[in-house]
Amino acid sequence: MLRGGKALLVLGLLLLLQLTVDPNHYVSRVLLLSCFSVMLAVSLNIINGYAGQFSIGHAGFYAVGAYTGASLSHFGREWMEASLGLASFPAWLADSAVLLAAVVAGSVAAAVAGFIVGLPSLRLRGDYLAIATLGFGELIRVIFINIDRVGGARGFSIAPINSIFWIGLFTVGIVWLSRNLLNSRQGRALQALRDDETAASVLGINITSYKVMAFVLSAAMAGCAGALYAHFDGYLQPDSFNFIRSIEIIIMVVLGGLGSTTGAVIAAVVLTVLPETLREFADYRMVIYSALLVICMLVRPQGLLGTSEFSWASLRSRGKETGGGLA
């Protein structure tokens, strides 16, 4: 209702881009890649930033979403065409249907994985939970490397469906959902448990169930990004979901400011676009990243934006946002 006008504007813009811009052009590719980074960083921010849990296996959820979505698209396309009569639809509609199905499958599978990884939070605190997430991420990668049906170490090739509209839509959607969460009852509960678990539980917040919820939601978003990514190039390799990838996402969240969605978005875009523009330094990318990370931790551990968020309201009133966001 309140957002109706803005939503139509966004949809219209994306549609326009879809119809006019070539997704395979170098610039589009870089921007689309940064969309994936944004989705990953924003989703990780829910676990690391809002809930204050330390998760260092996020690439695992990304992988689950990617491989599940790719499998559905690759192995299930004929079935879908037959039972849903897709063959008679125009190409763009059929492709969109397949893509959406893949995204749903990827998100659900990743959400299940998120549930499994989040459950141990019942018994584990701090470093130990981080260790569990690390183990999980690596486990996923090793498993996928060895499933021959999805290509194993050689990689998995599927028919690409590269859609600016859908990638853009899901990116905007995920950022929007995440921002909404921040100023909602559930989001406040997450931040409360981040700041002081005991005090939060005394107020009636079920700590474990909220931690698990954070994992499930975050994983689902990463899975969605994964499924979209799988169709971006049409080629998946287990090594692109390794520990280093998880670290890259953490770097984005940490640099942008743990707890700030805006920070995560900015950092994700900058850290994806910058390496592309500085191609000569590609070899040094990891060294530069890690140097950045170390410096950031030493000088400003709360990241660029700390926990502050960008909002139109605060631009207008130049004061702190009081909770609620009725604007």
Binding site: P120, G126, I131, I244, V287, L293, M297, L298
Partner: protein, 299 residues
């Protein structure tokens, strides 16, 4: 029946890998006990030792290469300690862990820049001298072929275990380091410089790691990215044995190496690498403090 006959060989191979995991675990333990930090760069120390030894062996004798490799490791350890020390008192432990993660990636990146990505073969300590590639001696025992270098790995591991036990129990410095673990404020009061102990713990962990690296490199080749897997698995061993528990880490490392080898050889060869993580996850669910750890940390 054919499978059963492979077991001795698998155990031997597993033992070798296990010893390296054990040494890495010891490194983790030393640093964790003094600072509470989980040092994700531990595996890279092994890599540094292996790479420096490999590169130097091509031109110099092992008398130069080996000490140089260990020294290189110690130097890097000292540098890392410096970075961790800066925010140590006021920073959250997780911040420090992120710093070590960043350091490990930086080390790998720099190593890649210096030495490229190819694997470098390293001649074994007591190989049979000859033209070109140096062959290693081997023994037959109970149906397994044991390479001389593998015995060296076990020997070095044993030396490290004995050395560390003696060090921590009987030397003043060793006891000082143990004091830092239990009570940093108290340690300071009696004149122990916690800063120095932190640097020392990193230097020791790094030196040990480098030693492990140069000893195992003739068996597994020296490669710039060997650190990640070793670090992760050594870390699994440390958790399995109980974070902070010295002997736990060693036993767990060897057990992990053997279990991994047996599983890979007898059951699913493809999933051999997954074994360490499955065990890690299992232990975290069942008994997070590890097999021999004390039920402490609820951070």
């Amino acid at each position: 029946m054919d499978q059963l006959s492979q077991i001795p060989q698998l155990i031997v191979t597993g033992m070798t890998a296990g010893c390296i995991y054990a040494i890495v675990a010891v490194g983790f333990t030393i640093i964790y006990n003094t600072t509470g930090v989980i040092n994700f760069a531990q595996g890279e120390f092994v890599m540094i030792g292996a790479m420096v030894a490999a590169v130097l062996m091509a031109k110099f004798s092992f008398l130069v290469a080996f000490p140089a490799a260990v020294l290189a490791g110690c130097l890097v350890g000292a540098v890392l300690a410096g970075f961790v020390l800066i925010p140590l008192k006021r920073a959250a432990v997780l911040t420090l862990i992120i710093i070590t993660i960043g350091a490990s990636i930086a080390m790998q990146g720099i190593a890649q820049f210096l030495w490229g990505e190819t694997a470098i073969p390293v001649p074994p300590f007591t190989g049979i001298p000859g033209e070109g590639f140096v062959e290693d001696r081997s023994f037959h025992l109970l149906g397994a072929v044991i390479r001389a270098q593998e015995l060296w790995v076990v020997a070095v591991t044993a030396l490290i275990v004995i050395g560390m036990t003696l060090f921590f129990r009987y030397t003043l410095i060793g006891q000082a380091m143990r004091a830092c673990e239990t009570n940093p404020a108290g340690a300071r009061l009696v004149g122990i410089s916690v800063r120095r102990m932190v640097v020392l713990s990193f230097v020791m962990a790094a030196g040990l790691g480098a030693l492990a690296g140069l000893t195992v490199s003739p068996v597994f080749y020296a490669r710039v990215n060997m650190g990640t897997a070793l670090g992760l698995k050594g870390f699994c061993a440390a958790v399995l044995g109980g974070l902070g528990n010295f002997s736990g880490g060693i036993i767990a490392g060897i057990v992990l190496g053997i279990v991994e080898s047996l599983t890979g050889g007898l059951l699913w060869s493809d999933y051999k690498d997954a074994v360490a993580f499955v065990i890690l996850l299992a232990i975290l669910l069942i008994r997070p403090e590890g097999l021999l750890g004390r039920k402490a940390d609820q951070k």
